[in-house]
Subunit: 237 residues, 2 copies
C-alpha cells in the first residue's frame, strides 16, 4: 500500500466492478437502507393514527411518504447492479422488524421522538459509512439520508408537550436512551451476520478501512450527535 | 340569461371573487377532495400491512404516498383563498370516515378492489364536477384525480387471485357492489349537508347548472365507468 497511515481517508478507490467483496457490501448497504425506509414508512404511517389533530396526522404522514420516496432510487441502483432488491433486503427484515417490535411507541410523543432520534441515528451512521464509498454509491447514500423539513415540526411538538407536562420529559428521556440501546443491539446483529458489510468498514489488505480507534471515534461522534438531538428536543440524555 | 338551453356546457363563467356562493362551493370541493386523499393515505398504508409479500406492500405504500402528495396543492389553494384547510376539511371528516368504517377490507384483495374501485369512483365524480368549474379550480381538481401508475398493479394482482380461487371472484363482486352503495350513501349525505356544493351542481339564476336529466345522465356515466372497472378486474358487477 502506497498510502501512509496519516493520509486523509479517501473514498473507496476501486470501482465496484473490480472487487466482488466490496460490491457485496454495497448491495447489503443499499438493501438495508431501503428496507429501513420501507419499515420507517410503515411505522410512521401507523404512528400517524395516534396524532392528536388532523394537522399533526398530515405532518407525520408526509414524513412517512418522504421516507418511502427514498426507496425507488436505491432499488433502481440495486437492479443496475443485477440484484433483485427484494432478495437483497431479505436478510435485513428480521433485525429491523425486531428493532421496531422492541420500540413500539406507547403514544404520540414516543412516536415523534422515535421518528426524530431513531431516524437521525440511522442517517448519521449511513453518512459515516458514506465517506468510505465510491462516488456513485456515496451520493446515493447521502441523498437517502437527507433530513426532510420535518425536523422542525417534531422539535416544536415535543417541546410543547414537555412544557405542558413535566413528567413527560422524564419518560421521553428514558425512551430516547432505549432507542439508542435497541439500535445498537440490532446494528451489532447486522454486523455479525453480514461479513461483507463489516469487512468493508474494517478494510482489508488492498483498501483502507477503519481501525479500532477510528471505529471508536465514529461511535463517539454518533453518540454526540444523539445527545445533541435529545437536547434539541429539550430532553436530558 | 343569454345562453340557449342547447349551448354547450361551459366552465363556470364568473370568477371566484364575484360569487360568494360559488367560492364557498369551491372551498368545499377542494376540502372534501383533500380530506379524501388524507384518509385514502391512511387506509392504503393500513391495508399495506395485509400485503402477502414485501413487493406488494411497497406497491400499495407507494399508491398511498401518491394520494398524500395530492393534498399539498389543494391546501395551498385553500390558503390562497384565505381559508384554513383544516377548518374547511372538518365537515367532511365524518362522512368520509364513516365510509371507511363501513368498508373496512377483510383481507388484502378487498383492500386492492377498494383502492381501485373506490378511488376510481371518487375520481370520476370529481372529474364530472370539474367540467363546471373555473379554469384554475378545474385544473387543480383534474390533477388531483389523475390515476397513478398503480392501476395495472391492482388489476394484475386481483386477476391472479381470482384465477387461483374462484370463490374469491364472487365475494369480490359483492364487495364492489357494496363499495358503490356506501359511496352513494355518503355522497348523498354530503350533498344534503353542504348547500353551496349542491347548489353549484344544480346551478342558479345567474349561472348554468345541471338539471335533473343531466344529473341522471351523470350517474349513468358514473355507473358505466364503475361496471367497466369491475370488468377490468375480472369481476361481475
Amino acid at each position: 500500500m502506497a498510502e501512509s497511515v496519516d493520509a486523509p481517508r479517501a473514498s473507496h478507490p476501486a470501482g465496484i466492478d473490480d472487487d466482488p467483496a466490496y460490491r457485496e457490501a454495497v448491495v447489503d448497504l443499499l438493501a438495508v437502507i431501503a428496507y429501513g425506509e420501507i419499515s420507517a414508512f410503515e411505522r410512521l404511517a401507523d404512528d400517524a393514527s395516534l396524532a392528536p389533530t388532523l394537522a399533526d396526522k398530515l405532518d407525520l404522514a408526509t414524513v412517512a411518504s418522504i421516507e418511502l420516496g427514498k426507496v425507488a432510487p436505491l432499488h433502481a441502483r440495486l437492479r443496475e447492479l443485477g440484484v433483485d432488491p427484494f432478495e437483497a433486503m431479505a436478510p435485513f427484515r428480521r433485525p429491523i422488524d425486531e428493532f421496531h417490535r422492541h420500540t413500539a411507541p406507547a403514544d404520540w410523543y414516543e412516536g415523534l421522538v422515535k421518528a426524530y432520534v431513531g431516524d437521525g441515528l440511522a442517517d448519521d451512521f449511513y453518512r459515516e459509512i458514506a465517506a468510505h464509498l465510491d462516488p456513485v454509491t456515496r451520493d446515493l447514500v447521502l441523498s437517502s439520508t437527507e433530513e426532510g423539513s420535518h425536523a422542525g415540526f417534531v422539535v416544536d411538538r415535543v417541546r410543547a408537550g414537555i412544557a405542558a407536562d413535566h413528567v413527560l420529559g422524564g419518560r421521553l428521556a428514558l425512551w430516547g436512551r432505549r432507542l439508542m440501546g435497541e439500535a445498537l443491539i440490532q446494528a451489532q446483529r447486522i454486523a455479525a451476520d453480514r461479513d461483507a458489510l463489516s469487512a468493508m468498514l474494517a478494510g482489508g489488505s488492498e483498501r483502507p478501512g477503519l481501525d479500532l480507534a477510528e471505529i471508536g471515534r465514529m461511535f463517539t461522534r454518533l453518540t454526540e450527535r444523539h445527545l445533541q438531538r435529545m437536547g434539541e428536543l429539550g430532553l436530558e440524555a
